[in-house]
């Protein structure tokens, strides 16, 4: 793949030089090893990049018709992006960028919906979404990942999100990909003074689907909330790496990730709360709960703390386990058959995460997805 990559860069692209340079750097890199802590437990060793060729992702956007993004502002945020690995370089070379900029003071009552349609066979797609929330703006962006049945693809999404002073920016990423698709996502969000950022993820699809989220609080009094619902079945694996990075005083972060695994599926959650020296007076919470619905399923949960100052309040909690027998018996003792009782318990387990999603209207659809997965359980 790597040798064929430069040909895929549009000769007329205004940033052609940047892209070519990134492609060249990528050519000198290899896929990271699972021995690196950030890739530990992952299935990265199964990835063969030469099976994929870069292509343009087909993306549709609704709800942003009257918004115009300032190219200089977009470029400035992109320039801040931390480059970690070959996938970041490949994204820099082959990205198709959608930029959403909401001006200062503007409140949007309807969500902006960005839908990536993953199609083709053996394609590598590099969607990049840039979200700029002006001071005191308020809006929601939904990013949907959908694929044609059987599409064999590698998707490498990048999200760059900035919430200006006192802005309220909500993001929901929705992975509804087929189980033939690999996804290696990376999200970087920064919040200015008194801003509130909600980063939500729902992962139902993909073969191996990973999202790394770095949420940085750079202005005093900024808040981030992170929620995720993930549910892997068959041979799927969902992989989350989160960073709550407090780089300013009196910042607040709260994270609630809930997942389920069944059949021989796997999930990984590793999260770090980092409170830097300048983060005094900050508060951070991190909760990860996992349901293992089959004997052969496996979930890993690794919470971490890195506190470099005093006067902070932090807590983390993590659980992995099967459906609670007492809950199941309670429902069955009311005459509810076992499979229905389990559906109630599993939907109930996800209820607080579903309630925290920025788009309430998606709840029935997502509950139906969860119920359908549970019905498909092999054992």
């Amino acid at each position: 793949m790597i040798s064929s990559l430069p040909a895929a860069i549009d000769a007329d692209a205004p940033d052609r030089d940047l892209r070519l340079a990134a492609a060249e750097r990528a050519a000198g890199l290899t896929v990271p090893s699972a021995e690196l802590e950030v890739w530990r437990y992952s299935r990265i060793a199964e990835l063969h990049l030469d099976e994929y060729s870069p292509a343009a992702v087909r993306t549709t956007v609704t709800g942003a018709d009257d918004l115009v993004a300032d190219p200089a502002a977009v470029a400035a945020l992109v320039a801040e992006m931390v480059v970690h690995d070959i996938f970041d370089e490949l994204s820099a070379a082959y990205h198709r960028t959608v930029a959403v900029q909401v001006p200062a003071g503007r409140v949007l009552t309807e969500p902006i919906v960005v839908t990536h349609h993953v199609e083709g066979d053996g394609v590598a797609l590099f969607p990049r979404l840039v979200v700029l929330g002006g001071a005191d703006s308020e809006f929601t962006v939904v990013e949907r990942f959908e694929s044609a049945p059987g599409a064999r693809a590698l998707v490498v999404p990048r999200l760059l999100l900035h919430a200006g002073q006192a802005a309220r920016v909500s993001y929901l990423g929705l992975n509804l990909l087929d189980t033939t698709v690999w996804s290696l996502g990376h999200q970087q969000a920064t919040g200015d003074r008194d801003s509130t950022t909600l980063l939500a993820t729902v992962a139902l699809g993909g073969d191996y689907a990973r999202v790394r989220t770095d949420a940085r609080l750079v202005g005093q009094g900024a808040t981030t909330k992170q929620v995720a619902l993930y549910y892997a079945d068959g041979h799927q694996m969902h992989d989350f790496r989160t960073l709550q990075d407090h780089a300013a005083p009196k910042t607040y972060s709260d994270l609630l990730f809930k997942g389920a695994v069944q059949d021989t599926a796997k999930s990984v959650y590793t999260g770090l709360i980092r409170i830097r020296e300048e983060g005094r007076g900050s508060v951070a919470f991190q909760t990860n709960r996992n349901l293992t619905l089959s004997e052969g399923a496996w979930a890993e949960s690794v919470p971490n703390l890195d506190i470099r100052t005093n006067d902070v309040k932090c807590s983390h909690a993590s659980t992995v386990g099967p459906i609670d027998e007492e809950q199941r018996f309670y429902l069955e003792s009311r005459g509810i058959p076992p499979q229905v009782a389990e559906r109630l318990v599993v939907l109930g387990f996800f209820d607080d995460v579903l309630a925290a999603l920025p788009v309430g209207g998606l709840r029935p659809e997502l509950r139906a997805h969860v119920a359908a997965k549970l019905d498909r359980r092999v054992s």
Partner: protein
């Protein structure tokens, strides 16, 4: 007219025999109280009749109108007409009373139209604040609120027989009266039979049992009318405990060795 028959029931939990041969017959509309000290096997009796996992029946039968309940999983026992009001109802996060009852009605082929209104009416009848009905089952409810919640379910599911496992525990006197009266009404309105398992007389003052049984060390050592509860109140369990054999098979692991 229905009959719940418990015949020679012997039950072990975690390898330890707790019930040493229980015989009880409850008919529709009757209220039976089973009283006993801590550790007598009261909660085991209620759990094993309902079919809670972890209880091993080694001998005996439980029949509902001749149907072998022990052969059925818990949910089918419930559909057959047995209802257990639990001493410590489980918390089920994210599942509301109406969610649960909708499925419980659906599984019985009962119409769920009008269910929310029926829940409200039952809640008001026993002074259970309707504002609490939207909460997850038993989450953030006080002991009394949980028992009122249990009683709402009992009233709506209309079982043939209700087993009340320490309904009075954690209840203040007002809640006890509300719940007991609702149970008593069901014995009149729908001819429900009741097996009320309790440590104390306090429930019986509200529930007015037709029969009282004293359970000691996994055996029923005395049965009679309501006057038996008065005798118990006067003399305590000591008077009944003396008659029970101390060497119940449960307590000695050697008995297991020689049981075959």
């Amino acid at each position: 007219m229905s009959t719940l028959e418990i015949k020679g029931l012997v039950t072990s939990v975690a390898g330890k025999q707790i019930l040493n041969g229980i015989d009880l017959v409850v008919h529709s509309g009757e209220v039976h109280a089973v009283m006993g000290p801590n550790g007598a096997g009261k909660s085991t009796l209620s759990a094993v009749v309902m079919g809670k996992p972890g209880y091993v029946v080694t001998a005996g039968e439980v029949l509902l109108d001749g149907v072998d309940l022990l052969a059925l999983p818990a949910w089918q026992r419930a559909q057959a007409g047995i209802h257990l009001v639990m001493q410590y109802p489980s918390e089920v996060p994210g599942v509301s009373l109406v969610d649960m009852l909708t499925e419980a009605f659906g599984a019985r082929g009962r119409d769920t139209e009008g269910l929310p209104a029926a829940i409200d009416a039952e809640a008001e009848r026993i002074h259970f604040p309707t504002a609490l009905l939207d909460r997850s089952l038993n989450v953030d409810l006080s002991g009394g609120e949980k028992k009122r919640n249990e009683t709402v379910q009992l009233a709506l599911l209309e079982p043939k027989f209700a087993i009340l496992d320490e309904l009075d525990s954690g209840l203040d006197i007002d809640a006890l009266r509300d719940c007991a009266r609702r149970v008593e009404d069901a014995t009149n309105d729908t001819d429900m039979g009741v097996l009320a398992i309790t440590h104390y007389n306090r429930l019986l003052a509200e529930l007015h049992p037709d029969f009282v049984h004293i359970l000691v060390k996994g055996r029923i050592v005395a049965s009679g009318g309501p006057e038996l509860a008065d005798q118990l109140e006067r003399d305590g369990y000591e008077a009944f405990t003396d008659g029970a054999p101390d060497d119940a098979p449960a307590t000695s692991s050697y008995d297991d060795l020689f049981a075959v």
